[in-house]
């Protein structure tokens, strides 16, 4: 009798776990899409046909890596601000952790964007760093988020830290927007599409590059959200571990 009971118990647990796995499989479809998009855009980015242009030469392929970093950074930082606003409305630990980790992933993407951009600038404009409004805007944006992390580390109490850094996060994002979107359009810039330069559409007459560029943007945003997801889960586990220890 007892043995049968325990068998039923075990089979119940098994079906429960099975269902859980099924659920997570259904929930994780976007990770497969991300991997597919990245594999496609990276292979096609290195091997596909690109327009032959003077100065740019093969470095035009950096479009598939450099520009998606900035799209990814803005998307992830927007997530960070949304969760900061959510925290002010509904102060839970989860909202705070997501806001902080999203800022971290945004900084990672920003640094990668700066590095890929510096390599590109070296081979097309001739210097690692030029006095360009977009470069300066990106650097100041990085400073804002480093300041956010410094601010976070200067509070000992969790709730105070979460609320005050949420306030700064929202305030900083609002002042970052004119910096990244309005200023480069007013002044001369070496970037395509600014200060009288033709946009990238002019180089890409047959729209073949778009077929790789847009999947690359989506893929890198997806990867950022995946990293964010993992980091949030890790932080949650850490918090639970130290809370109960």
């Amino acid at each position: 009798m007892k043995v049968e009971d325990s068998k039923i118990q075990i089979s119940k647990i098994r079906t429960f776990e099975h269902r859980k796995i099924e659920n997570t499989k259904m929930k994780n479809w976007w990770k497969f899409v991300t991997v597919a998009l990245l594999l496609y855009s990276v292979t096609m980015g290195f091997l596909g046909e690109v327009p032959r242009l003077a100065i740019l030469n093969e470095s035009i392929r950096n479009l598939y890596f450099h520009v998606p970093m900035w799209f990814g950074m803005l998307a992830i930082l927007a997530v960070s601000v949304v969760y900061s606003i959510k925290y002010l409305n509904n102060p839970t630990l989860r909202n705070d952790i997501i806001a902080k980790e999203a800022a971290n992933v945004g900084i990672l993407y920003g640094i990668l964007g700066l590095l890929t951009g510096m390599v590109w600038a070296r081979f097309t404009w001739g210097a690692w760093w030029v006095n360009d409004p977009k470069l300066n805007g990106a650097a100041i944006g990085m400073l804002i988020y480093f300041a956010y992390l410094v601010l976070r580390s200067s509070f000992a109490e969790q709730q105070q830290r979460a609320r005050i850094s949420a306030v700064y996060n929202i305030f900083a994002f609002v002042t970052l927007v004119p910096l990244l979107f309005i200023l480069p359009r007013l002044t001369d810039s070496l970037h395509p599409g600014n200060g009288g330069n033709p946009g990238f559409g002019a180089y890409d007459l047959d729209s073949n590059m778009r077929l790789i560029f847009y999947p690359a943007v989506l893929g890198w945003i997806g990867l950022g959200i995946w990293i964010l997801n993992l980091r949030v889960r890790l932080e949650n586990l850490k918090f639970r571990f130290y809370e109960n220890a």
Binding site: L88, L143, L151, S154, Q160, I164, I170, L186
Partner: protein
């Protein structure tokens, strides 16, 4: 109702400043001695200062003065008095009053700084009314974006270093626009060339005031 509160709080700030003049006099001396040190270190008696350098130096002096002056706005009052205010007035009133008071303070400091600067180092400005407009917008801009940051920094442990770290990146876009505007004024360019900068500075100020107004209630609860 809100307007009444703001006027009352601004009056209170002015009266406090008048009674304990050391804060204002301290800032005045700060501006004067910084200008004099710049004068000495560039040894200007023998060679004039070039216009871009003159312009950049003026705004950097004003930036440091602003960070020093405005960082006091939430730390100079003691806890008991702050709690007393919190029971009487709304947070929106407090932040608007502080912004208005700081804007007035920065306007006075900016004008005095310009005066010292022009007397000691020389005055290359060709379109003085336009330059005064840029000082006015600068005072307003420094006050709007630094007041909330000073409220944030006042809550933290090591607030004076944090104030600089938090405020410099936030103020950078405004500073770039201000330098451009005042450079045009110094060169005496036609005023219609400045419309873009004026519109953007006004828009940034409005956005920053609106965000401070919305966010400050969350800050003062702690």
């Amino acid at each position: 109702m809100l307007l009444k509160e703001v006027i009352y709080l601004v009056q209170k700030d002015f009266i406090l400043e008048w009674r304990q003049k050391y804060a204002f006099n301290g800032m005045l001396l700060y501006v004067g001695s910084t200008v004099f040190i710049c004068y000495l270190s560039f040894s200007l008696r023998f060679s004039g200062l070039q216009v871009p350098v003159w312009n950049a130096l003026y705004w950097i002096i004003l930036l440091f003065t602003a960070v020093n002056a405005i960082s006091k706005s939430f730390t100079q009052e003691n806890r008991g008095r702050l709690l007393y205010f919190y029971s009487l007035v709304s947070p929106q009133g407090v932040i608007l009053a502080k912004i208005a008071y700081n804007a007035a303070l920065m306007l006075v400091l900016g004008l005095l700084c310009f005066f010292f600067y022009a007397v000691i180092i020389g005055n290359p400005v060709q379109d003085i009314p336009m330059f005064l407009v840029s000082i006015l917008l600068g005072a307003l801009g420094f006050a709007t974006s630094l007041t909330l940051v000073s409220g944030i920094a006042a809550k933290a442990a090591n607030s004076s270093a944090l104030m600089a770290v938090l405020s410099f990146p936030v103020i950078a876009p405004m500073l770039l626009m201000l330098m451009k505007l005042s450079k045009n004024a110094i060169d005496g360019l036609d005023r219609s060339t400045n419309l873009d900068e004026l519109a953007i500075l006004g828009a940034i100020n409005v956005i920053v005031i609106a965000t401070s107004y919305i966010l400050f209630p969350f800050l003062w609860r702690t």
